[in-house]
């Protein structure tokens, strides 16, 4: 099962509707400081159900919605969709292609959709848990965090092994 596409709009610095196509293998994201590379990684974690504020560098829901700049008005909604190839049915769901969407409004409300039908956050989490997509903390290594696994407490490192079990 692999990631085919990422659609981002209104999420953090992505005020414009933006699409990234992915292929199996290695995709590199490059560019100068402050342009939005880590924001791309954040959008992936976010649509997979992440809500830890420190990990997303967002203290409240509002922080992930495009806040505006001196040349562009703020937006009211952040929306990220990932399209996954499911032809081998990694995900326990009928479709050959699965689209998961998450939206956030300034009210603080979050919406989740799977193939355009509204679901609850727990449905999204359960779906991915069975396929182990991005559920393991070792599937994401944040900027400046690479050494963290070395300074974990022994019990937290044990938890990492347990995740892999």
């Amino acid at each position: 099962m692999y990631l085919k596409r990422l659609d981002v709009q209104g999420f953090k610095s992505f005020a414009n509707k933006t699409q990234l196509q992915f292929a199996p293998g290695v995709t590199c994201v490059v560019g100068p400081n402050g342009t939005g590379k880590t924001n791309v990684a954040d959008s992936l974690r976010w649509v997979l159900g992440e809500h830890a504020s420190r990990t997303l560098r967002a203290r409240k829901t509002e922080d992930v919605i495009f806040a505006g700049s001196d040349k562009r008005a703020p937006q009211g909604v952040a929306e990220v969709s990932i399209t996954l190839d499911n032809s081998r049915h990694w995900l326990p769901i009928e479709f050959d292609e699965v689209v998961v969407t998450r939206r956030a409004y300034r009210s603080g409300e979050n919406e989740y959709l799977i193939n355009n039908s509204k679901v609850r956050l727990r449905d999204v989490l359960e779906l991915f848990m069975k396929a182990q997509v991005g559920q393991n903390s070792y599937a994401f290594m944040g900027q400046g965090m690479v050494e963290q696994v070395l300074s974990l407490r022994p019990e937290d490192r044990r938890a990492l092994i347990e995740e892999a079990a």
Partner: protein
């Protein structure tokens, strides 16, 4: 459950030792089960010794050596239980060119089973990419993405 942990621990340990030796072209590393906590579960400690050097604590390793050791453990976890997707954000920042070379070699091997999305400034890492996306931000402070070929990329740092 305890059985599964033991099996997984054994696999991760073997893979960690293997990746460490590949990255350091020698040396030894292993995971050890340490003291048990209040639930009777042992913690996991890391022992790492670059080739020819005296065994010391992890704190004695250099910045780049620590990065490599951490990546070796990460790759061992991925080998033991492949995640379909893995996102790495500038994990090669502290590595010199030779070490980046070894890192990408193992990365390519793992990319058979795991789809990697890698944020990097390093040219050697970018050279191994199947797809490259360039992110830019204009005067309106809005991010834009452009699909790039290797020849278009001009990072240096």
């Amino acid at each position: 459950i305890r059985e599964r942990f033991r099996t997984t621990f054994k696999t991760v340990n073997q893979e960690f030792a293997r990746y460490f030796s590949a990255f350091f072209r020698g040396g030894t590393a292993r995971l050890e089960l340490g003291e048990t906590d209040e639930y009777g579960l042992p913690g996991v400690e890391i022992v790492a010794q670059p080739p020819g050097k005296k065994l010391g604590s992890l704190a004695l390793l250099s910045g780049g050596e620590r990065s490599l050791t951490a990546v070796a453990l990460l790759f061992a976890l991925l080998q033991a239980n492949p995640s379909p997707i893995c996102v790495l954000d500038e994990v090669d920042a502290a590595l010199d060119e030779a070490n980046v070379g070894r890192f990408v070699e193992e990365l390519r091997a793992l990319s058979e089973r795991t789809q990697f999305i890698i944020i990097t400034h390093n040219r050697r890492t970018i050279e191994t990419a199947d797809t490259i996306y360039g992110v830019s931000m204009g005067a309106d402070n809005v991010s834009r993405i452009l699909s790039l070929k290797l020849e278009d990329v001009h990072v240096d740092e």
